[in-house]
């Protein structure tokens, strides 16, 4: 038996395949350069900036930059074009998947490569620029042949073509989905707009739902977003300026404002901040928001983020600046003050009485969302006398079997609730509601039955949760959630004394906060914001003649003193 085992062992060692279980891979740190991020890398100084007249030299450089040997989606198509019956080497460069092939074929390759009336033009017939008759002598001004202009004017029947002289501009165009045309003997190229990548179509807003307002939201494509804004504003004073952010990504950012309304200083400040960012990449408007806000350490959001074109337009018409980042369906609005985060785009669609009632309810909801758990802790620990005796007995009786102090009890439930909320957001949408049911009903009920928390506390946490859901702005909700925990601790530490201290410090911080020069607490103080659509409690629509003075707009009034002319027999 033993001999048998020995043979088996020898056989296995020599002939049996045993897979290697260990696989060691390490990332070396030798290539990591500990140098400061500079806008221009030192190697760039040695690179050519302008095009050569020789197409091969240009192509070689482009191929090197794009690593075209290993990059599968960089297409370089070389061909010969005919102009004035002469042949020139040419090439187009584009990224597969980002262009519309049909447009390239029909508007670029066909007219350039196939023989037609334009490219067989011999040149004997000079191009006449102007002609006039002087004493029966015809004087003609004739344009000298210029290949660059000839191609531009006769051979590329495409609406958006630009002359490019620098490699950098060419790369930027190619990266954005344009097609780049190079022709031998000329040191300029042609940036041709043939974008055609797949993108999400305009759909309903997901997070800012309204009943009576428009039902379309921004998408990831910057041009679609700007067109949505332009379509609503419908005025030539709307300016949409473009710039790019990020050394690597060169993300397109559009700055939109109304030239005749928005304060020049505000526009200049927005542009100044965006143009002075030393970052490699920008992938969302959320990142840009953090990079350009006044106080980065503050808990409070200082720019409005919205997915709704109508809300964006309302604020642009008030004199604010909208910032659109390519690739993000959320547009930033600067400046953002406290009242903006408490308002819903729905408010202006309703009669002022309904809107004001909703806004009042929202204020109450924010108060409860912020203070209720803290007040509960403070009352149960220090200020029993605030509660009527019967209620106090009920609470105490419910808490009798709970082994934890109130602070542990409330933290347990608040943290559980935050977990349920986070889990509900992250899980796939079909099982999202299940998480809510499991967390909300089963966990809460089980916690009460197990005497981990008192039933009163469940009510407190539930009210707080419902109130926090009524906050219209998602980012402001985060602020309230964090502040709530601070107030819980302060309430536990010193009851109302702690809460009062916390509230005072919060008021101080808010009073100090500014967003693009606008005091954050506007319109509550130092700014008379009456009769404006941005005042927290809305006046009737015919009384909203003032623009918001938060942004000091160029035009003070947005409507006439008497807006309903028909009612006053003052018809135009």
């Amino acid at each position: 038996m033993n001999q048998n085992n020995i043979f088996k062992k020898i056989y296995n060692q020599f002939f049996k395949y045993s897979p290697q279980n260990e696989y060691n891979f390490f990332l070396t740190t030798e290539n990591v350069k500990d140098i400061e991020n500079t806008p221009v890398s030192p190697a760039k100084d040695l690179e050519p900036t302008n095009f050569y007249t020789n197409i091969q030299e240009n192509l070689n450089f482009i191929k090197t930059k794009y690593n075209s040997l290993i990059n599968s989606d960089i297409i370089i198509r070389e061909f010969v074009i005919t102009a004035r019956n002469k042949e020139y080497n040419a090439a187009i460069i584009y990224i597969d998947g980002m262009v519309e092939s049909k447009i390239i074929n029909a508007s670029v390759l066909n007219p350039l490569m196939l023989r037609n009336r334009a490219n067989t033009y011999t040149g004997d017939e000079k191009e006449i620029v102007s002609e006039f008759n002087n004493n029966d002598v015809v004087i003609r001004k004739i344009k000298k042949f210029n290949l660059q202009n000839y191609i531009m004017d006769h051979l590329i029947p495409q609406n958006d073509v630009k002359h490019i002289e620098k490699f950098e501009e060419a790369f930027s165009g190619i990266n954005m989905g344009n097609c780049f045309l190079l022709v031998d003997t000329i040191n300029v190229g042609f940036d041709i707009d043939v974008k055609g990548f797949k993108q999400r179509s305009v759909s309903n807003p997901q997070n800012e739902i309204v009943i009576r307002g428009p039902q379309e939201a921004f998408v990831e494509n910057i041009r679609t977003n700007t067109s949505m804004i332009r379509r609503i504003i419908n005025n030539e004073n709307l300016v949409i300026e473009n710039c790019s952010v990020g050394e690597i990504t060169k993300t397109k950012v559009a700055i939109c404002y109304l030239k005749d309304i928005t304060n020049n200083d505000l526009v200049a400040e927005v542009k100044y901040r965006i143009n002075n960012l030393d970052i490699d990449h920008l992938t969302s408007s959320g990142q840009l928001e953090q990079l350009i806000q006044d106080n980065a350490s503050s808990l409070f959001p200082q720019l409005l983020a919205t997915e709704r074109p109508d809300k964006t337009v309302t604020h642009i018409l008030e004199g604010r600046v909208a910032i659109i980042v390519n690739g993000t369906p959320y547009v930033l609005l600067a400046p953002g003050v406290l009242s903006d985060f408490l308002s819903s785009p729905e408010d202006t669609n309703f009669k002022f009485q309904f809107s004001d009632m909703l806004r009042l309810i929202r204020l109450v909801a924010i108060f409860f969302a912020l203070f209720l758990p803290g007040i509960y802790v403070a009352v149960t620990a220090y200020h029993h006398e605030l509660l009527p005796t019967e209620l106090l007995f009920t609470i105490e009786a419910a808490r009798e079997t709970v082994p934890f102090p109130t602070i542990i009890e409330i933290l347990l439930m608040e943290v559980s609730f935050e977990l349920i909320r986070e889990a509900g957001l992250r899980v796939p949408s079909p099982i999202g509601p299940t998480i809510g049911i499991v967390g909300g009903l089963i966990l809460g009920e089980a916690a009460v039955n197990a005497n981990l928390v008192s039933p009163v506390l469940i009510i407190i946490v539930a009210i707080t949760a419902i109130c926090s859901f009524s906050i219209p702005d998602f980012t402001f909700n985060f602020t309230i959630r964090i502040c709530r925990f601070i107030y819980i601790f302060l309430g536990y530490m010193a009851g109302f004394l702690g809460i009062a201290v916390g509230l005072f410090i919060q008021i101080i911080f808010l009073s100090n906060l500014k967003s693009f020069g606008a005091p954050y607490l506007t319109p509550y103080m130092l700014h008379n914001n009456k009769r404006a659509a941005t005042s927290y409690f809305l006046p009737p629509i015919w009384k909203r003649e003032n623009r918001s003075n938060v942004v000091s707009p160029k035009k003070k009034y947005s409507q006439g003193k008497i807006s309903m002319l028909w009612k006053n027999n003052k018809v135009k």
Binding site: H383, E385, L386, L497, A500, F504, I505, I507, I508, N512
Partner: protein, 322 residues
Amino acid sequence: MSVIAVLIAWFISYLFKKFQGKDILDVCEFLGGNTLKIIMGIFYIFLLILVPMFVIKNFSETLQLIYFRTSPLIYIVLFFLVSSTITNKFSIKVLAKANLIIIPIVFLSIIVILLSSIKDFTPQRIFPILGYGANETFLMGLSNLFSYSGICYLLFLNPFINKTTEFKKISIISIIISGIYLFLSVTCILLSLSFTFKSGESFSLYLLTRNLEYGRFIQRIDAVFILIWIISTISYISIAIYFCIYVFKKITKISDSSSINYTINLLILGLLILPSNFATLNNIIGKIFKYSSLILIFGISILILISANIKLGIINKKKGRV
């Protein structure tokens, strides 16, 4: 007393008319050079340290008595000082903005107290109108002007305000608001509480709020008023310490105030521990501090302002002759 205080505020703003953008320390420098400025600055620092110290001590002891019987006094005191330290990292504009939110709430609270306690008012308690007699009320009672020792801040406010007319407006309106608040408070206490309660001195208004009830459900809401008063007290302390730092910076010509902020708050904490009990503190306030601050604010400061105006008049007259 309120009328006298308004007149004094008007007079101070009138005396500052020729010293636009200058505070009392600048006026001292103009009158008696750097020496007078430093001497007066030290006096003002003493005053501005002692005022928040007494307020914190008084309020903290009351809070300890009501809610925090098992907590040491220093624990309560630290809440006030930490908040004032944080607040004083910001500018006076921020403090002013914060007060624009706080003051209406405080004012609303006293109106709620007034309306709620009307049912307990006994008009007969107003008698005798002259109290202990005309002499006691009008002459000895002048020392009650101490309630308006906040006028002291007007002496330093001028550089923060651009126009002289604005300064005058602010001075008078602020004293009128304080006067109305004081009048409403005194009315509530005088007409609602019996003499024995009033003689207790400490937090008479709190004792009044304990009796407020609205139906069967809300029977004791004094804690809500305490919350409002805590906020207003922190605001008051912060302003006093702000001006203390301001005076210190001005006489020492230091540009960075962050270290002074910590030092002054720590100094107040140290001073707070000195008086052994509430009675000692009341003794110090009633006998020494009350009269010395009255002399400094309403006596010496106004005297300096008058003298400086005379000096300025003489100088201008001489210039006119030349």
